[in-house]
Symmetry: C2
């Protein structure tokens, strides 16, 4: 900081939206070159965030929306008695911080699961730009809608499905999201620990572990710690009671 000797500036690592491989699923989707440049101009690239570190906390005034550039995050909502619920996991290209829209204050604490990087978008600047950029408004709508639909499906999952069915639904959801990012939908590493996944699914860690074991015994999946291989997606779909991804023309979110 106070040294005169120059080292590599983190700003030099800046990658513009136009170069970003995530632009199709992220905020820039549908923008033309000029609009893209304008969006680029108001994006702040935060330094790397290590696992367990917090991006923003419940109660913080909302200043930015964040897009995951690399890595993964969890959003945690707490009751005033200490109960905690993970409301979502975020993969690359996904938008974090929408929980602050209600009263310009965040209600979820958002924490990195892996070593991650994000794009921070000043909410006031974004607001101004969106006023004159129809494509940006549309994409914002779509991303907001994706979040809402995601939450609604989780409500269905928690309210109506059994533990094993919830896990199946989750695995297929992650599978689809990874596929969309160019990764194998059949074999992947989960970004979160059992502890977090259990919480997300509304189960005890022990129960989740049993659900995994049962699926392995049934030949539906193979696992090694966070590594998961889907062996029988058809049966998983039946379990999950939700859209069976065939060749996938679905918006997965």
């Amino acid at each position: 900081m106070s040294q005169s000797r120059k080292v590599i500036n983190i700003r030099d690592l800046k990658v513009s939206c136009s170069d970003c491989s995530l632009s199709d699923i992220c905020l820039p989707h549908g923008l033309n070159h000029q609009e893209l440049d304008e969006l680029d101009a108001l994006i702040l690239h935060k330094p790397r965030i290590e696992p367990g570190e917090t991006l923003f906390r419940s109660g913080d005034p909302m200043r930015y929306l964040y897009a995951v550039r690399s890595g993964a995050f969890k959003a945690v909502l707490s009751s005033n008695e200490g109960a905690e619920q993970i409301t979502g996991f975020f993969l690359s290209g996904e938008l974090m911080g929408l929980d602050g829209f209600g009263d310009d204050t965040h209600h979820c604490t958002t924490i990195a699961l892996e070593s991650s990087t994000v794009c921070a978008i000043d909410i006031d600047e974004l607001e101004k730009l969106s006023a004159r950029t129809e494509g940006l408004r549309r994409q914002m709508r779509h991303l907001i809608g994706a979040e809402i639909n995601h939450d609604h499906r989780n409500l269905l999952s928690l309210g109506q499905l059994k533990g094993e069915e919830r896990l199946a639904a989750f695995l297929l959801n992650i599978s689809q999201r990874l596929k969309r990012r160019g990764f194998s939908p059949y074999e992947f590493n989960l970004p979160m620990a059992r502890h977090d996944l259990a919480n997300y699914l509304g189960l005890a860690v022990e129960t989740l572990s049993r659900m995994f074991s049962r699926m392995i015994d049934a030949g539906l999946i193979e696992t090694n710690r966070r590594h998961v291989k889907l062996l029988d997606t058809k049966k998983l779909c039946n379990l999950a009671q939700y859209d069976c991804p065939r060749e996938s023309h679905h918006a997965s979110s």
Copy 2:
């Protein structure tokens, strides 16, 4: 229609946003007179909807956002195996149809619980107006955020709370929303049947009934069918594990 004899036209019953008692909690909040008139101009007043009738169905293309003018609605999400989850109840002034934002298609089926009226807002017109109306964009953000926060709290409820705690949280939530509309927060009629409430809370109808009975025995509430009286909000708050409404300066949503 083909008659020459004029009867009272439903359009004559039109009430503008500026006259509407709900304008403070609904879309018009924060708009000036001219903006209000512009918003008014694109609002379509649908004929009365009777209990059990559908406003829009899952799969319908999204054309309107709807605001509840009077009455109440439920939004139902279905799995492809027939499982159904009520994702939300909507009271006067609340916005319905945000689930269509993701891909311009509704994913929830929305059904009237009582004899109800709604304002339908053409989504394309709203989009155009919001482009040049900062206040409208802000209020849209806030209402969207309220929906997201509401969903997140329900995730916490379904994932972490016991049946009785969920019911307490629900009663307090309804209480707050009614209070904001000028009704008593301590005594009110629930707009939904036990069946729907049970589904919303992820419980069997019988279990819900038992939770009610338990609360009555404990002196927390009194009930007569859909009529509910809150007797001990303090204990209810403890049960619910969520913001205890004192004199209420909270955004309730």
